[in-house]
Symmetry: C2
Subunit: 136 residues, 2 copies
C-alpha cells in the first residue's frame, strides 16, 4: 500500500480534522485560496496532509478575523521561501489596526447605550430616557 495514497481524505474527513465545514472548504477553493483539489474517478475531492495543513492555516487566520483577501496574501507569503517577515508583519498590523478601530467604535456605542440604559427607570411608565435619547 502506498504511503502517499494512504493519507488522502475526502472533504468530510478534512472538515472534521480542521474544524471547518465542507461548504467552507469548497468556498475557499472557489475563492482561489487553495489549488483545485484532486478528484476521485467519481468526482470526490481528495486532500493530502499538506492540503490539510493549509486548511488549518486558513482556519486559524479566520479565527483571528483575517478576511479571505488577507488570507490569500498570507498564504502567498507562507508559500514563498523568499518572503520577508516584514511583509507578514505589515499585513498583520493592518488587520490589527482594523480590529482596534472596530473595538473603539463598539466601545463608543456601548458607552452611549449604557448611559441611556442607566438613565431609564425600566418600570411600567411610558416615559423612557432611552427613547428620549434616540429622539434627539
Amino acid at each position: 500500500m502506498n504511503t502517499l495514497v494512504k493519507t488522502l481524505v475526502t472533504i468530510g474527513q478534512a472538515a472534521k480534522q480542521t474544524g471547518l465545514s465542507a461548504k467552507m472548504i469548497r468556498y475557499y477553493e472557489e475563492a482561489g485560496l487553495l489549488l483545485k483539489a484532486n478528484r476521485t474517478d467519481a468526482g470526490y475531492r481528495l486532500y493530502n496532509s499538506q492540503q490539510l495543513q493549509q486548511l488549518g492555516f486558513i482556519k486559524q487566520a479566520r479565527t483571528l478575523g483575517f478576511s479571505i483577501a488577507q488570507i490569500s496574501s498570507l498564504l502567498g507569503l507562507w508559500r514563498d521561501p523568499n518572503r520577508s517577515s516584514r511583509e507578514v508583519k505589515q499585513l498583520a498590523e493592518v488587520h490589527l489596526d482594523e480590529i482596534k478601530q472596530k473595538v473603539a467604535e463598539l466601545q463608543q456605542m456601548q458607552k452611549v447605550l449604557q448611559q441611556l440604559a442607566d438613565s431609564c427607570c425600566g418600570d411600567d411608565q411610558p416615559q423612557c430616557a432611552i427613547l428620549d435619547g434616540l429622539q434627539k
Copy 2:
C-alpha cells in the same frame, strides 16, 4: 400658502437633514420601518416634519448599532403611548449584551494577534513567528 404643505420635503432634502442617504430612506420604507411616504403627482416621495423626526430616530438608533429589526421594535414602542419603559430597556440591554460580546471577541483576536506581531522580527528574513503561529 398652506403652512402644512410648506414643510414637505423631497427625499434628497430629507437625506441632507437627517444625515442618511436617499437609498437608506427608501430601504427603511421597503423594510417597513416607515409608512409608505406620500407622493407628488409625479411620484416623488414627500416627507413632513414628523417623518423627518422618525428618520432622525432611525439614524440615531443605527449609529448605536441597533439592527433594522430592533429599530422596528423600538419604533413600535416609541409610537405606543401604552408602552412601558421596561420593554424599551429590555431591548436596549439585549443589544448592549450583543455589543459587549462582540467587543470581547475582537479583544481576544487583538490579544492573540498582538502577541504574534510582537514576536515577529519584521526583518528581511523569511522566518516569521506570525506564520508559525498560524500554522499550529
